[in-house]
Assembly symmetry: C2
Homo-oligomer: 346 residues x 2
């Protein structure tokens, strides 16, 4: 059976929401085992609140916690008994098939790279969230923060990895893949983007649709958007801020006076549906693509439902053989100039 290693102590509401999310996921999908990493006593106390198939839950005692204040590389090397390091150790020792963590991003990325290592041929692993869009299906944005400065070979690998992910986990056939740029025409962007755009046109096994703009991320006409981590991070957070601002404005106007408040009650179900359509929690976590086993980075402030979606994502990544598909897609292009070149700058 598929075994998912879960960092039960990483996250703003851990371990409470992590444990609750695990129970939700176990009830949704009968075909995996959850291995919770964290303080054994605390986790047992949390688990006691639920009825569940005890044969499908294991605990690995790891009482330490890595916080956002820790320096990632140092913390991963010194806090060997932390829930995050323990989670990745399970993968390395072949005791689990995929990992889920809502812990400090830097620590998760560092532990992933140091403990698991990269799939052969991958120049740089990348963080790939699924952003809610108008179509309801979502758009994958890769990279959104793991690699600030990129070369064209890195961007090409992001395109290959995210395309493989779209097919493996979501079953999207020939996902439409675009390069984030400041305009759609071929002459747009700096030298790196013009060069990458030309290389992507020749890459085997992906459905490259050309340059796309920031507005395309949420309009549903593209499935995968490729970017360097700096720009992807800015796009992701700009969208997050816009969503929060619009939601804040809606709340303010509907609470302006008693008449508005009463009418808000009348349309509550509609507004809730809108909120759900634009809610990133329904979209799961960001997958750290390019490692030898699937790693899902849950949002630090995930609640139980959001965390359960991340666990389901990890299970599906194992079922869809995410790592195998990335390897195959990379090998298809390994002979091609610029697409398979190794990059040791990680």
């Amino acid at each position: 059976m598929i075994r998912i290693a879960i960092d039960a102590m990483g996250g703003d509401f851990a371990p409470k929401e992590q444990v609750k999310g695990t129970i939700l996921a176990l009830n949704e999908d009968k075909d995996f085992i959850a291995v919770l990493c964290g303080d054994e006593k605390t986790l047992k106390a949390e688990l006691a609140a639920y009825t569940y198939d005890t044969s499908r839950v294991e605990i690995v005692h790891a009482p330490e916690v890595i916080t956002n204040d820790d320096i990632p590389t140092k913390a991963v090397r010194t806090k060997k008994d932390s829930s995050t390091v323990a989670t990745f150790r399970l993968l390395k020792e072949e005791k689990a098939d995929a990992a889920v963590s809502g812990g400090a991003t830097g620590a998760v990325l560092t532990a992933g790279v140091l403990t698991l290592g990269r799939i052969k041929g991958v120049s740089r692993p990348a963080l790939c969230p699924r952003i809610p869009d108008l179509s309801g299906r979502g758009t994958l944005l890769c990279d959104c923060g793991a690699n600030l400065e990129c070369k064209s070979v890195n961007l090409v690998h992001f395109a290959l990895m995210a395309s493989a992910y779209a097919e493996a986990v979501y079953g999207w056939k020939n996902p439409r893949t675009g390069l984030l740029n400041n305009g759609t025409e071929d002459h747009k962007g700096d030298e790196l983007h013009r060069e990458t755009n030309e290389i992507l046109k020749t890459v085997q096994g992906i459905n490259y649709v050309g340059n796309v703009e920031g507005r395309d991320i949420m309009l549903g006409d593209v499935d995968v958007v490729v970017s360097d981590g700096y720009t992807g991070n800015i796009a992701l957070k700009s969208i997050e801020g816009c969503g929060k601002a619009v939601s804040g404005i809606l709340k303010r106007e509907f609470k302006k006076n008693l008449f508005c408040k009463l009418r808000a009650l009348l349309v509550k179900d509609v507004l809730n549906k809108v909120k759900k359509s634009a809610d990133y929690e329904t979209m799961g976590g960001a997958v750290f693509l390019g490692l030898t086993k699937p790693v899902v980075k849950a949002h630090g402030n995930s609640k139980a439902y959001g965390f359960s979606v991340c666990i389901a994502q990890a299970v599906n990544a194992v079922r869809g053989d995410l790592a195998g598909r990335i390897k195959t897609l990379l090998e298809k292009n390994v002979e091609k100039e610029g697409a398979g070149e190794a990059d040791t700058e990680q």
Copy 2:
């Protein structure tokens, strides 16, 4: 009296909405003269639909139009009789104090730089729109597309120019100015951003608050966000796409069935207020900062109201002595290393 040169033929709905917008602006503010550039016969026919103070409207015959298909540098040099080139010629010949155009962005930027030239000390002019935010006041984002690749001296000038603009046109005292980055901590970003962050801390005459993230653009806690043009463009368009997607989802849910449609009517006034709060048309155009006279670039698809806001913006830029303030602020820093250095790469 203040004289505003108006490109009456540039824009998706020109000259109809341009003329209507001009009339709106003339009625709102009795203290400026509008000089419309475009085909005289067409403009006279459009104007005939309105009653207005004829002593405050002049026409400069310029029948040609520069389109998005034209190559900007070539079009500006060869289409001398175009409404866009005629608009900027008026500024150069001291026959107008500021310009407003909804024409092709490339042509407006090129005509601005070639015809008007830069304020002494400005390394690169930059495009600065005002983005709607939760506070209702808006946030200035500079640059959002005029300069794809930047050095720290350019980013420092963007901070100075946008701060001067915030004070000159909107009267914001000590506008809170941040550097767009992938995190707020000082160690975030690549070398350029780390260096720029340190320089900005030492710049005189601006209220620098440190690094800001994409989400801060719309949350109302900062007034000016400084960015290179590539990233600024991605942020701007990501926000635009998010707004469109949320608006699309709202429409879809409120039109789902008859019951939803009926309830939509009941809350129509509230939804309209939300729409207006998030509408960029109320925020005016992007100002092309750093030229010797104020230039407002209206959105290509501006309707009359949006265009009238752009005209008011141009009038206020003249009244607030935008160019003079930028010059003064730059001079304050001209002795400082890295902030006043000339850059001839434009």
